[in-house]
Symmetry: C5
Subunit: 234 residues, 5 copies
């Protein structure tokens, strides 16, 4: 896993959003990047990542891109790739990034599946007592018990002092733009971003449907690929 | 597999409890840590361990934590992670710990599945004749025949002179707090810990239900994760 | 993955056609090689490739052959082998080839599966704005959203500035000579090859049926091989 | 795979008995060790072996133990572990042992499955013509055709001059003490061991039922273990 | 993969026969070795080969043996082992052998499965135009299209100039002695071996039935082995 950067902002807050449940992390970081006009300053890279190039708005989207919003001094890690089996390595790259930029906080956006059709409760995890009030003022309850998997789980096991995790309940497994919009509202409060809320849900829904279309194409292609592998020319 | 210690007590008894059957080892060591007020002095660590951060009482629990109770000079290894395929490596780390601390006894807590709904018989294994009477005085019978798997099996094959194993029958595969409480009673007798028995069973039951809740969440998450892997964004 | 060349043309356009959906890439590059009288100047090679020698016109066809048409200064990579799991490595070899020959454009021919029985729409992807008009003049629409897999996906993630990709819809999973012929028409326009169109479709159909015969033999052999593996002499 | 020895007898006959079909090799070598009062002088060892400690008569039994009977100058390799995938490595360790001790003969005890309920025919394999008569005098027929798998197969491919193999038909897949007793009779004749035959069958039956009990416990444990792996704490 | 030779004949023709479809290659080379009285001069060897010792005529048969017939200056590679996954490595060893002995021709004997119950057509492949007439005079047609797998496929991809391949149709998947006999007739013509044809078919049938018996025993053993693996002592 390699970290490539073209620019090195100083002491930014780092926000990471991996697809996870409901694609919430990906939709939310996508919105942030667009809304804040963040520009790409690098990527996390390895040949262990699947060789799949996503095209969005006629442009290639990196599987793991690193973006920067100068105004708010925020670095955003946007993931559009399966990362299973690479969680430790990716978390190492994120920690390397944090150290290189002298970042003091990594905010992980993560969805939790729920059977509850109504619920969109939000939780936080921090090991810094000083931050609890701030999170609770944003309307979140502490995560008291649970198991956190994926890159966020790896980050917490490796360097919990640095990581603030925001969890949102979602009951939609493929593309939950409402949950993503709710996460943005919380982030806005927590970081004082002054996001314009009017276009938020609509934009999130658009990202959601684009992602779904891309994924459906990908799945169709995958099915076809599978079929072809039965032949010797694949 | 790495062993990280912040403190090096001298010649402690080491107690190890891996989840095993009925989670007995984990529930029992959890109770001991709480009851004795043992504090964390290190961990056993490797990126072969699944990147899953358990949260308990709003705190991250290490997959393999090392705790110390100064009063009784006891080191407790508490495991909250699957270890399949890592048994040899973990046993090597435990033996490294024993050597570093000049420990003279590793006590393994292990449950044995039984079909017998009543039974909660206990057995011991030791290769030290001098210890047999002591174990039998605590109400245990010798394990005459059987196959011991997992980290305890690996420890016995590597360094049987150092290892005392306590086995308890359990017919509950997921969370047997009664068996865990019984193991604590035996340990109390064997080590003279003077455990306050009144809260024992109740506390063990609480740990059991907490563990179950955590596990259920973990499984739900795992199922959802599985579902997501069908897509390309996982 | 090794690149072996007997000749090093200067600044050629490189065309790559991997079997993909409908074998379109393979049929199209096969036609080009025959029609332009391109000669083999090398191969891409690795023992990770399946040890299967295809025989065509009583000659061995390389799994991954490199051909050269001097007149048009075109290098053609012709693939007759499954490449799954080798996409990054093969894309590295192609980029090595491009760098060695100082090639300024790699044209990837790729089919996209569609359910639409009629459709044979074509799309392009380029990251060079200067090329968009040229592609559109050839009758293609830009690929706005999608997921590009295989060697073409890997090439785009590694070096998008160099890669022009042509996509054609195909609903035939095994051998779509019509789509391949259409791709040739587009390439002809784009590169000004002055292909003689009369024999095009017929030739493509012949390649298609040859490939199908070869594949069917291969599959029969594979089935038989499978059966044999049940014995100890396989 | 490591060979550890505490003692190095000179020019012993080496007898190896791996569990194989009907556990014949293990039951027979177990009887020999007990009957001859052979003592453990080492082990063959690797972390590729499953971390399972068998307990028998309240003692740990090595997965691959090396025993020595001084009176008859016999080294016995006793195996109580699955060795699949390690056949070459274990055969290398046995040949290392033979060379180190300047042993001139390795006798392999091996059972062959048969559908014949009556049959308990015995066969031998040797590449030394000088030994044929001796084997035939013990009541065995030559193995004319067949396929020999496992450690014995590996030994024969590596160093056939050194290996004498004794095969016995068995129709009981799990614990055939009769076949094991018959093998001991043959070995007794061949090596002139003067085994006391009265306790033979009874002892073999006892080993058989002990082994079965141990295995059943092991399997029950395995099933339980499997069940547990569904959870995250296993 | 290692090549071990006790003798180095000069410029022999090398004949290789791997089991393949109908065991044709193995039966044919077996016949040749017996009929010509060729003696073993080496083997191709690796611990990747399954540790299975075949016994034939009370002798161990190497999985991959190298034999020499001095009179006709022919080296024969006789294979009695599954080679899947080792095709490249074995072909490298055969090419190493060819280079070491300065051999100018490797003749590959290979069967092709056919559904046609009657057919036993023969084909050849050569990249040497000078040899075509000779092959056609022996009654073979050129292989115009197809996919050649296994060691022969690997040899053709690596060093086609050196390889002459003879293909025979066979519709019997397990032991086709008629096809093997036919291959010998062709080889006899091509190499002028003056084989005595009277015993040919009968001998081939005997090899076939021996091989079948050996394989059946092997399969029975394999099934039993499989069953045993369910236990912990395997």
């Amino acid at each position: 896993m390699q970290l490539e950067l073209t620019e090195k902002p100083k002491s930014p807050v780092i926000i990471e959003g991996f697809p996870g449940f409901g694609l919430v992390g990906t939709i939310a970081t996508e919105f942030l990047i667009k809304h804040l006009g963040a520009k790409q300053i690098g990527k996390i890279w390895s040949e262990d990542i699947l060789p799949i190039a996503a095209v969005h708005d006629s442009k290639i989207v990196e599987p793991l891109g690193v973006f920067y919003d100068k105004k708010n001094n925020i670095v955003i890690i946007h993931a559009l790739s399966a990362v299973r089996g690479m969680e430790w390595k990716i978390s190492n790259s994120i920690l390397e990034l944090a150290e290189m930029l002298k970042s003091k906080e990594i905010i992980s956006l993560e969805a939790i599946g729920t059977e509850d059709q109504e619920g969109m409760r939000t939780f936080y995890f921090t090991s810094q007592d000083s931050k609890r009030k701030q999170f609770e003022d944003c309307g979140m309850a502490p995560l008291k018990e649970g198991m956190i998997m994926g890159v966020t789980g790896a980050l917490l096991l490796k360097k919990r002092d640095l990581v603030s995790a925001i969890f949102i309940e979602s009951h939609v497994s493929l593309g939950d733009s409402k949950a993503a919009a709710r996460v943005i509202e919380i982030l806005d409060k927590y970081l004082g971003l002054k996001v314009d809320f009017k276009p938020l849900l609509k934009a999130a829904q658009e990202f959601e449907s684009t992602l779904k279309r891309i994924i459906e194409k990908g799945q169709k292609a995958a099915v076809q690929k599978k079929r072809k592998e039965l032949s010797y020319l694949g």
